[in-house]
Amino acid sequence: MSLPPLRRPAPTRTGFECDPAFVAGQFAAGVAVLVAAIAVASALPRLPWGLVDPLLVLIGSHPVINALIKALTVTVFVTVHVIFLIWLERKFAGWMQARLGPMHVGWKGALQTIADAVKLLMKEDIIPTRADRILFIAAPFLTFMPTLLTFMVLPFSEKWVAYDFPLGILFVLAVTTNISLGTLAAGWGANNKYSLLGGARACAQVLSYEIPMAVAMLSVVTLEGTMSLTEIVKHQQHGWNIIAHAPVMIPAFLIFMVCGLAELNRTPFDLPEAESELVSGFHTEYSGMRFAFFYLGEFAANFFTAGLAVTLFFGGWLGPWLPAPIWFGIKTIAVVTLFMWIKWTVPRLRVDQMMGFCWKFLVPASVVVFCATAVWVMVAGS
């Protein structure tokens, strides 16, 4: 008796094999979207904005109303852009892993995040009986508020900045450290061992990586002689920092990026929320809208860190013939995509490696870069 010969199953089509027509169609659609976006963007400055101005001046002249409008605008932007970012992340992850990602709700799944948000809103709000109720409730807001505050000083253009704070960089540093308070509150409040471990890890990680990040940002401050984010961009009129001062700014940018990834708890630094060891760490016990707040804060911080990198190293809103905020958006999304690329490529670090890498390599390296920048400024200045 003989077995039938093994046969290879017929290849099934997934849509990812190189069907030239499919690829060409996708490419054409992409180009069309890009052209449309550029057309709309270049038409924007020619619209009769002058008609709106008197109204704006009338409303904006009152300090309290002015502040309220700015705060509201920033809040709405932070909340809404995350919807886009989550969709982008899922599509990007799908692309990296040769699958489609969300496809069914809206065009190419564009409305999937809105559906998810509605689902999260309607979910049952669970607070564990043994949890520390006050801390458990406060934690998502403690995590989200600092991120929201950082957007107040992020310059989308010379005019599009809610509060042009002269000590912008210091403000950013001061506010972002407070995110660890929220994660500590969540880790402790949930009364769960995985949450506590995750919270403690997050806190230690953020505190450690804050130092080289601050020193890397200090290098930029030394170079530009100002802590105002708008001034730093204006100084890059004749060349982005990373090109004009490449020998010192490229290492500074690399340190900034690594520390940024660590502060954002993204792979390879996602130890605080490692799914496989800590069942999502400090937000294990959270569900529904409280969980969504953690996610919102995380993705908004993503955009902010990318925006900060663009401001410090890539000339912020500067660029030819497109309006400034559009340039800022394009550059920032490019850096966000870089974050995503890293996230879906590298594995997670071990906790001792994470600490050792920060204290034994990044901290000395950032100090060396800082000293080199000081020498560079002296040489270039003379």
Binding site: L167, L173, N178, W188, E210, S228
Partner: protein, 184 residues
């Protein structure tokens, strides 16, 4: 801003500072006491903001909330007996502490009463100028105290490492696990 608005803001900030401060010392949950420090310190930062002292606002948030408060909470989480609501709120030295604190408060009150406060509002320098002036003072006029503080911090850092690296001796009796049936 009108005087009324300034007064209102000042009163609001005072409440924001003092109410949490009272909660810090009165709450029975040590971790909650730590978290009550957050609104208290934010209130102080707000008072600095009212004085146009931009650098101090940011330094307050960065150093006191971002570093010291986080450190306090972190060490509380590593402390035993945090969640015990029956833990005593003061130790045996309360009889000594009260007169010392009272004397210090009296001295502070006396100094504040005698200080020649300016009669009208004083124009503050811009944030940029303030920071530059402060930086120059720190590495110029006050270089020695500044460096002395740095050396102190360095000594504390080295001391902490030495303590943490010391070989583990016999754990004290309190840390042994108590078995209900006596030690086996």
């Amino acid at each position: 801003m009108s005087t009324l608005a300034v007064m209102g803001a000042f009163l609001a900030l005072t409440v924001l500072t003092l109410f949490p401060a009272i909660m810090v010392i009165s709450t029975r949950n040590v971790l909650h006491a730590g978290f009550w420090l957050l609104p208290c310190l934010i209130g102080v930062a707000g008072l600095y903001a009212m004085l146009d002292a931009h650098f101090f606002v940011v330094a307050q948030v960065l150093v006191y909330i971002g570093a010291i408060l986080v450190l306090i909470l972190f060490s509380l989480m590593l402390t035993r007996d945090v969640m015990n609501p029956k833990a005593p709120q003061h130790n045996g030295l309360v009889g000594v502490a009260v007169p010392i604190c009272a004397t210090m408060s009296a001295i502070c009150a006396l100094l504040l009463a005698r200080h020649p406060w300016p009669a009208g509002p004083v124009a503050a320098a811009g944030a940029q100028d303030q920071t530059v002036a402060l930086g120059r003072a720190l590495i110029g006029t006050y270089a020695l105290p500044f460096e002395a503080a740095s050396v102190l911090l360095l000594a504390a850092l080295v001391g902490a490492i030495v303590l943490a690296k010391a070989p583990q001796s016999e754990p004290p009796a309190a840390e042994r696990i108590e078995c209900p049936g006596g030690e086996k």
